[in-house]
């Protein structure tokens, strides 16, 4: 039986790891590949590198990082950010990334998901969705693009289902209301997405305590849980999280 995965996420800017609170106030937390290798030793099941600058000039830095990661990491890793066309994805896969995470590009050009899945397999194509709850509308969320700057007014659940149909291998779902707040995942959002897709959902945004990880899986019905700052600043180790999940009856890799 597949274990539930714990995935540290490293937001990378100019070749360094950063993590903002609600996407602002960036802090420097070190070299991304070194940090990822440390997470491998702690028992991380995968790591995600998100290039949050993704400017054209910085692209070679990110590709060099991905290439270094292929030598120093012995677990799968995903690179997200800065993909516009199939050629960008091909370059990153060629550099050694196991998977790419598509966000705005997939939303604007959904056929890119299918093209990438056909070229590299759907398991290599994550679609990242940044969703924010519509105020006063109950359980409704819309998709935001460009790091939360653009509200598409598109229903997040519907987009997740569409991304699935286009050939996505996984959904990386971030609640922008929860992100950086450390109050736990948006469980209603996570569960709503998990129930309309037949691919794994990675819950992201908001963990601050061990219980939040378990809730994402047990109540949010996520297949994997992702976090950043709690790991980077040593508030908890990946191993502690996995031992806690195991204590709650969740199957995780501890060997």
């Amino acid at each position: 039986m597949l274990t539930k995965r714990v995935i540290p996420c490293l937001d990378v800017k100019d070749g360094r790891v950063v993590k903002g609170v609600n996407f602002v106030a960036l802090r420097d937390a070190g070299d991304p590949v070194d940090l990822a290798a440390a997470y491998d030793i702690q028992g991380a099941d995968e790591v995600v590198f998100l290039d949050i600058t993704a400017t054209h000039e910085q692209r070679p830095t990110v590709i060099a990082m991905a290439a270094r990661a292929s030598e120093e990491l012995h677990i799968p890793y995903t690179v997200g950010g800065g993909f516009h066309e199939l050629a960008d994805i091909r370059t990153m896969i060629a550099a050694g990334a196991d998977k790419v995470s598509l966000n705005s590009a997939a939303f604007r050009k959904p056929e890119l998901i299918g093209l990438a899945a056909a070229a590299f397999g759907s398991q290599a194509v994550l679609v990242a969705i940044d969703a924010r709850r519509v105020p006063g509308a109950g359980d409704r969320w819309t998709v935001f693009l460009n790091g939360g700057r653009i509200n598409t007014d598109t229903d997040a659940i519907a987009w997740a289902a569409a991304a699935n149909r286009h050939g996505a291998g996984e959904i990386l779902l971030t609640s922008m209301d929860s992100d950086g707040v450390k109050d736990g995942f948006d469980l209603a959002l996570t569960r709503a997405v998990a129930r309309v897709v037949d691919i794994p959902v990675i819950a992201s945004g908001g963990v601050g305590r061990l219980e939040h990880f378990a809730a994402g899986i047990l109540e949010g019905e996520a297949d994997a849980v992702l976090a950043a700052s709690v790991f980077h600043f040593g508030e908890m180790t990946v191993r502690q999280v996995k031992e806690y999940l195991a204590s709650q009856g969740i199957a995780v890799r501890l060997d």
Partner: protein, 232 residues
């Protein structure tokens, strides 16, 4: 002589090469049939789809030389798609009802994995993530070259939508369960196939590669260089 990681021009093979290097192997990534013909051991990695890879291997001359080297008992490790390619044919990347020709070392075929379990419940495909490799207990001797010192039920990293369907049960050494239970380690002589990715399976995956390197350096076939068994 080197361990040749066969390049069929579908993806990055550096992590596989690095895993073998850490295990002490001299390595070479090559698409050249001549290099493959002179390999100390051959590693066929898992990137891309069956039909694409098989077509490239056939047209480049890799297919013929790999068959010939395997027949000569050169140690061989097929990973993921590299395991699928050991079989006679595969359906991945073909229109329904059509098959691409594989190496044909093992009888059987590579088919899409089942998504519905015995209770009728649906499981997600691709099968992505860490899952437990269960040894066939009666095959522990045959498993030992690759899994010496590794506990039965250990987690390894899988990412695939297709599986090997062997005609001969005797080729199967270990299994994994998703919607259904299916083979994840196959062997005939010096030829091994693993469905999981050792190069992505952290320290236990590196241990498998280290064991394979020792097995190959000891000459393959009946070698059990670690002198220890699997842990059950």
């Amino acid at each position: 002589m080197a361990f040749v990681v066969v390049d069929y021009c579908k993806g990055n093979l550096r992590s596989m090469q690095r895993g073998l290097e850490l295990a002490g192997a001299e390595t070479l990534i090559s698409a050249d049939p001549v290099a493959i013909a002179h390999a100390e051991a051959i590693v066929l990695p898992g990137v891309g789809a069956f039909a694409d890879a098989a077509t490239f291997m056939h047209e480049s001359g890799q297919m013929a030389v790999i068959r010939e080297r395997i027949a000569a008992q050169v140690p061989f490790l097929g990973v993921c798609l590299g395991l699928h390619l050991l079989f006679e044919r595969g359906e991945e990347g073909m229109d329904a009802g059509h098959w691409a020709e594989g190496l044909g070392i093992l009888r059987g075929e590579a088919c899409r994995i089942q998504s519905i379990d015995a209770q009728g419940l649906s499981h997600k495909v691709p099968h992505v993530g860490w899952n437990q490799v269960h040894y066939r207990s009666e095959r522990s001797q045959d498993l030992a070259p690759l899994f010496a010192g590794i506990e039965d039920g250990s987690n390894f990293y899988f990412t695939h939508s297709y599986q090997g369907v062997p005609s001969n049960e005797t080729d199967v050494l270990a299994e994994v369960t998703h919607a259904q239970t299916f083979p994840c380690v196959v062997r005939r002589g010096s030829t091994f196939g693993v469905q999981f990715h050792p190069e992505k399976s952290s320290h236990k995956g590196l241990a498998v590669l280290r064991n394979f390197v020792r097995f190959a350096q000891a000459g393959g076939v009946g070698a059990n260089p670690c002198g220890e068994g699997v842990l059950t």
